[in-house]
């Protein structure tokens, strides 16, 4: 396996981990932030796959604005979740 492939596998594994954490933590603020991390990993993956425009957009939209929207809502409702 080349370095790039290793990097690829590394990101893929961490994506799954991030997704699971984002869905399992009880604190919605943490969940939102982890979701941002997830998006950022995704954006790295896409950049590595040659989809620079998509990666750029995901960085701005997914990791940036989406997470902010989530956090804004979490602040306005409540932070703790039952699951």
């Amino acid at each position: 396996m080349s370095g790039l492939e290793l990097f690829n596998v590394f990101i893929l594994v961490f994506l799954v981990v991030a997704a699971v954490i984002a869905l399992r933590v009880k604190d919605l603020l943490i969940a939102s932030v982890v979701f941002g991390i997830y998006s950022f990993l995704m954006c790295l993956l896409w950049a590595e796959m040659g989809a620079v425009d998509v990666a750029f957009t995901e960085a701005a939209v997914g990791a940036g604005v989406s997470a902010v929207f989530l956090i804004a809502t979490v602040f306005n409702v409540k932070r703790d979740s039952s699951d």
Binding site: D53, A60, V61, G64, V65, I71, T73, N76
Partner: protein, 252 residues
């Protein structure tokens, strides 16, 4: 619910994996998706048709410009819908909101505000760069617009919403979002009135002194600006609405 979810997940997963066995090999340039006339046309002839080096931008704004127009419309819809859903009317609107329990200090943090003061112009400059340079490098109207919108959001985060709204009030933001759509659809309509189909930018060459290819090139910039207008304003409007429970005042 959980059992149902597991059942759905197992079924869906089974189907997906079943399909995955039939996929073309990873990164195979001969795969039908990469080897079809359409895909090849985008790579081989974008430069010929539009003179835009960034194929993604060309496909986005020209070949599939109609999609992108509706994508902009989707953003616009989101802005309108969120404002409408959260908007308070009648007596509710005039009532002052109760203080939140965890609200400690209204004064914006000095370090943060100073940093943001420095950052915002740079971010906005970068947004313009991304927008304008989208033809030759990654970027374009969406990315530029989101970054621009983020700069306003940053202002709102660092100080408070009214401070950001001084620069771009939500009412005006929605108007500008409409202007963005008008720019996009207007260019399409102009092309139509000049004798082509809707969004046939090449027809613009009949009124501007450029070749048909360059007409497409410039019109793409035009529509990207339209997109950027909408995205910038709507992103900020959504944030403003979500962060203030639709009251459009105070901060997070």
């Amino acid at each position: 619910m959980r059992k149902l979810a597991v059942a759905v997940v197992v079924l869906t997963g089974g189907l997906l994996l079943y399909a995955a066995t039939d996929f073309a090999a990873w990164g195979d340039p001969e795969s039908p998706a990469s080897d079809s006339d359409v895909s090849k046309h985008f790579i081989a002839e974008t430069g010929v048709d539009t003179e835009v080096p960034n194929m993604v931008t060309a496909v986005l704004a020209d070949y599939r410009g109609f999609d992108t127009m509706f994508e902009t419309v989707v953003i616009f819809i989101a802005g309108i819908a969120i404002l409408a859903i959260l908007k308070l009317t009648g007596k509710d609107a005039t009532k002052t909101p109760g203080k939140r329990k965890d609200e400690v200090d209204d004064a914006p943090d000095l370090i943060v505000t100073h940093t943001v003061r420095l950052l915002v112009p740079i971010i906005q400059l970068f947004a313009f760069y991304v927008l304008a340079h989208g033809h030759v490098s990654p970027g374009g109207g969406f990315q530029g617009g989101v970054i621009m919108g983020a700069s306003f959001i940053l202002v709102a985060l660092a100080w408070d919403l009214p401070r950001a709204m001084d620069r771009l009030s939500v009412d005006r933001a929605i108007l500008l979002a409409g202007v963005g759509i008008l720019i996009y659809a207007g260019i399409g309509l102009l092309a139509m009135f000049l004798g082509g189909e809707f969004l046939d930018y090449a027809e613009l060459s009949t009124i501007f002194p450029v070749s048909r290819e360059m007409a497409r090139y410039h019109a793409m910039l035009g529509v990207e600006i339209g997109v950027a207008f909408t995205v910038t304003t709507v992103m900020f409007a959504i944030y403003a609405s979500l962060s203030s429970k639709g009251r459009l005042e105070g901060g997070l």
